[in-house]
Symmetry: C2
Subunit: 213 residues, 2 copies
Amino acid sequence: MEAPIRLVYFEDNKALREGMSFLFQATPGFALLGAFENCKNLKETIAAWQPDVVLMDIDMPGLSGIQAVPIVKALSPATQVLMLTVVDDADAIFQAIRNGASGYLLKNTSPADILTAIRDIHRGGSPMTPSVARKVLLHFQQPKPGGEDYGLSTREMEILRGLVKGNSFKGMADELSISVETVRTHVRHIYEKLQVNSKTEAVLKALREGLTR
Amino acid sequence: MEAPIRLVYFEDNKALREGMSFLFQATPGFALLGAFENCKNLKETIAAWQPDVVLMDIDMPGLSGIQAVPIVKALSPATQVLMLTVVDDADAIFQAIRNGASGYLLKNTSPADILTAIRDIHRGGSPMTPSVARKVLLHFQQPKPGGEDYGLSTREMEILRGLVKGNSFKGMADELSISVETVRTHVRHIYEKLQVNSKTEAVLKALREGLTR
DNA sequence: CTTTCTCTCACCCGTTTGGAGTATTGACTA
DNA sequence: TAGTCAATACTCCAAACGGGTGAGAGAAAG
């Protein structure tokens, strides 16, 4: 038998907190260290217990769940934070994730699935409600909304990729076995097409708009 | 009663394909339009049927599932593609996502959960196996894996942020109301600390390691 | 068979950067 | 109080870059 998952739970709704607490206590494999209605004693609690998993409601009076995440991660880096909320808001999701949360569930998730999610997160997974996951994915694939094509030629793309790697004109000239002057010409054409006027700007634009893929 | 989910299934393993096909046919709410062992007739199939959801195995002979995704999305943008695979490989995941896949399940997922995932994806969610989701999240919060500090001073950080915005030395000098020479001095100190030797390299390093946050 | 595009190379000119020093001031620290 | 460091500024030099102009060879398109 494995060691139980040492859990701390933050939830301001009393009924829900007590209900879930009962569930955690009744389920083998879980050790509920504490259930709190706010983050008042957050630091002391986390620092002292170093729990495996923190189940954190987002909407709480006082310190919000999102603000609490970085504090938890700072005091106990190994602790996995699972956010639980009713608000399916993109900004909140990303802030929580950037702050170090490892999972994100909406409150319509069934108690059984929450138990499963806690086991998942403890095993190194990142349980996410599908609608939340979709928002995350969109930030990955949308980098090209206007997806403009600037009409760069093959050679120009090659040069641009070189710039993005941080190469100098001379370096690329050698690499491509052409004259530095030729590289400069290509670069000037690239600048015109991208409407920039320096290496750095070209690199930034290329990176931001994913031109090098 | 709602319209059934119109589904197309690609899977090279015959036993698995037939088993899942039976399940789809037996489950109310699902309409299996076709199940194929490879992507030979991918274009015709997708173009003609415009399915709601495509369940796509990644490891297939011939055209791989990953290569198939962009084709599906091109021919039928509204179709949601759910990847199904044994390989829990980060690169494969990101390629599939960038190509337009909306969900990603490992093959150890139970048939019941696959059915749920298909309903989720059809409702606009992005079902993801927790271990896959973790890989995705890491790319968001990765900012500090080696999280080096480099010990940049306040002023140096300010200058670095300027570089990342594409400013020239002169531009920053004006902005900060200091001499260009001073900017140059700061920049040289930044180069030493970051161990680079050009503006572009500094910008790239700053971006990659999230130093400007 | 011209026109257009891409890739190639060259020269000029002025500005911006990189590299290496030196130096003054003020603030913090041992 | 002496030492360290950040921030400021300057000088000299050489390399790299940005902008302008021109031009030849080959391929693709009209």
